[in-house]
């Protein structure tokens, strides 16, 4: 069964060409011209992936993403006509998994979606034993790769696919430093010019969900000038 992509874009022509391109790649495409339609469709049609333009009409893309994130961990690729740091980081902070800037080539966007699909698959298919990230009896944190989830005191932590992939990647080798480019390649499959800010934003979001004190992280630790390291507690 083909994966369904919801394209949220206020420009009809871009939407039309994206539909053509994505259908060529074998996706089933749903379209929304504004945030309200997008939210309704996201709840009704339950798409597998979303492409969201940050510049929408009355409700902007950021709000739309935040709204979707309240109930769903669906992978979201942001499309922005502005390559300014501010807009991109704001999109990622809102909850997007990845971004492309306009004008993009078809192969860029399909590559991003492929990477996200891979993340979906590996997240579900991995059959590795559970890993205790925090063994504190009052606050146990377990990464269950087989279930594609992390559990804090027996309850699932609402991680997005990207956050889960990032955590799994770090958990592959606890205590070893992983550089930002290495994480970019492993989780996002970005090329040589990949944007390292994307890693930082997702690490920040991950920490707010799993750390006792996100201001003083102890599980996902920053190693200055080198990258990140996962320390088992």
């Amino acid at each position: 069964m083909p994966l369904q992509v919801l394209v949220v874009e206020d420009d009809d022509r871009i939407r039309a060409v994206l539909r053509l391109a994505l259908e060529d790649e074998g996706y089933e495409v749903a379209e929304a011209g504004d945030a309200e339609t997008a939210l309704a469709l996201a709840h009704a049609a339950m798409p597998d992936l979303m492409i969201v333009d940050l510049m929408l009409g009355a409700t902007d893309g950021y709000t739309c993403i935040r709204e979707i994130r309240r109930s769903s961990d669906i992978p979201i690729v942001v499309v922005s006509a502005r390559s300014d740091t501010h807009d991109i980081v704001a999109g990622l902070e809102a909850g997007a998994d990845d971004y492309v800037t306009k004008p993009f080539q078809v192969k860029e966007i399909t590559a991003r979606l492929r990477a996200l699909r891979r993340r979906l698959r590996t997240a579900v298919e991995a059959a590795e034993p559970d890993l205790f990230l925090d063994s504190d009896p009052r606050r146990s944190l377990v990464l269950s790769r087989a279930r594609g989830a992390a559990r804090l005191d027996g309850e699932d932590v609402p991680l997005t696919v990207t956050e889960f992939r990032l955590l799994s990647e770090l958990a592959q080798a606890p205590g070893r430093v992983l550089s930002r480019p290495a994480l970019l390649e492993a989780v996002w499959q970005h090329g040589f010019y990949g944007d390292e800010r994307i890693v930082d934003v997702h690490i920040r979001r991950l920490r707010t969900k799993i750390e006792r004190d996100p201001g003083q992280p102890r599980i996902v630790v920053t190693v200055r000038g080198l990258g990140y390291r996962l320390d088992l507690q």
């Binding site: 871009i14 060409v17 994206l18 391109a21 502005r82 390559s83 004008p103 080539q105 040589f192």
Partner: protein, 454 residues
């Protein structure tokens, strides 16, 4: 203002002016005080001596009128004050109340006055110091009476007074200079603050403003300056917004175009050869258009001072190898210590070198070598080509926007902005780029970048 003084700083000119005025005022004051005091003291002293001399003369006259007076007894009993000396000429002979005092002591001008029968006085200088002589003719006994009084004590007082006045003038001048220094500081400090703020703004810190002040005169300057910077900032931001808005408006249709052409290219085998050829033309120019837009936007952003270069560590050797591979050149062209790191924006540095390499490939007859070296604390990358080189006169001009050389260098990305962007990117990374001659006669582009702190 004389040119010599024109070169003196405002601060020093103010100090000099204050000191000069203080010196002038205190000098006039001191001189007039001295002259007045001196005149008054001298006149008073002379009056005292004159009274004394008159009394003594009268006494001597009375004694001489009585017959058989002993002249030395007369002079002794006249009893002038200890420091005064009486000199008497009587019956053609000179007598004095003090041994060792000659008649020559009396100035000759005074003597001739007395001989003429007029009472007179005269100040003169003896070996012991200044003195005043009073002459009184005594015609009734045919004598000339002189009394000489020293003015040494008075001179001492006057010397002390002048010393005090000179000291006062020096003190006043110093105080004037100090006042000048204070005044100049209070004038120059706000000026310096304006200069420092202006320099900061010129350096891209558009949010810098002068702090508010209570001084009513400075308030105007501070207010005008700040509102000028406000206007400037608004204009720069409006320009930047315009560039961003224009690029946004252009990007949407461009997205449709690029994606549609991609779709067509994916199905190019379904097209007629003539259509395929047309599609290739559209594809090539669309690529050029896209890069022109990127270049323009980046230049607009650096013009607007919105250029914040991130301080990511960039492995320069790896970057250069990657860019060489990207443009289809041999990564083996890279020589030198390749394990060097700089800080900045990887994508923009990549674009910088891509532009240089493509420039060499398109207009320089092909890339011959890319060399990394360390010079002092900097990294230097030299990019040599095979071509005819760049004439000396053009070596700066080719970095201008839309500059076209004889062999149309400068349009490496086909946009006419390639080398301009190279220069801007290098500058934004606190580095530089220049053009020289390669050993083989081709062009050599040299990029200097800061090495990352380890």
């Amino acid at each position: 203002m004389t040119p010599a003084l024109g070169s003196v700083s405002l601060r020093h000119r103010l100090i000099l002016a204050f000191a000069a005025v203080a010196l002038m005022v205190s000098a006039v004051f001191a001189a007039s005080t001295y002259l007045l005091a001196r005149g008054y003291l001298l006149a008073q002293r002379e009056r005292v001596v004159q009274h004394q001399a008159m009394a003594d003369a009268e006494f001597v006259q009375q004694r001489l009128e009585s017959a058989g007076a002993d002249i030395s007894e007369v002079l002794t009993s006249a009893g002038p004050p200890a420091e005064n000396t009486i000199i008497l000429r009587w019956q053609g002979k000179w007598y004095t109340s003090e041994l060792g005092t000659e008649r020559d002591t009396v100035p000759s001008a005074l003597r001739s006055d007395i001989e003429a029968g007029n009472a007179a006085h005269q100040r003169f200088r003896t070996d012991d110091g200044p003195a005043v002589a009073i002459g009184v003719p005594l015609p009734s006994v045919g004598a000339e009476f002189y009394e000489v009084a020293p003015l040494t004590e008075l001179e001492g007082i006057l010397r002390l007074l002048s010393a005090i006045l000179i000291g006062g003038a020096v003190l006043a001048t110093t105080a004037g200079a100090a006042l000048g220094a204070w005044a100049s500081r209070s004038v120059v400090t706000p000026l310096n603050r304006v200069a420092a703020t202006a320099a900061k703004i010129a350096g891209g810190h558009l949010d810098s403003r002068l702090p508010a002040t209570q001084d009513p005169e400075l308030t105007t300057i501070v207010g005008s300056f700040n509102s000028m910077v406000d206007t400037l900032q608004q204009r720069i931001e409006r320009d930047a917004r315009l560039a961003a808005d224009v690029s946004h408006e252009l990007r949407s249709p461009l997205t449709t175009l690029v994606a549609s052409v991609d779709l067509l290219n994916a199905r190019r085998f379904e097209l007629h050869p003539r259509s395929r050829h047309a599609l290739d033309l559209v594809t090539a120019d669309l690529d050029r258009f896209r890069r022109l837009l990127d270049d323009l936007l980046e230049l607009a952003r650096s013009d607007a001072g919105l250029d914040r270069v991130p301080s990511d560590t960039v492995d320069l050797g790896l970057l250069l190898k990657h860019v060489l591979t990207e443009i289809g050149a041999d990564p083996g062209l890279l020589a030198g210590p390749v394990e060097v790191e700089t800080t900045g924006d990887k994508a923009r540095l990549g674009r910088l070198f891509r532009n240089l390499f493509e420039n060499a490939e398109r207009h320089g007859g092909g890339l011959t070598s890319v060399q990394i070296s360390r010079v002092d604390e900097d990294i230097v990358v030299t990019v040599d080509d095979h071509g005819d080189g760049v004439p000396g006169l053009d070596r700066e001009r080719i970095f201008d926007r839309f500059a076209t050389g004889r062999n149309s260098r400068g349009s490496s990305s086909g946009t006419g902005l390639g080398l301009a962007l190279v220069a801007e990117t290098a500058a934004a990374h606190r580095g530089a780029v220049w053009c020289a001659e390669a050993p083989g006669g081709g062009a050599r582009f040299v990029v200097r970048l800061l090495e990352a702190d380890r």
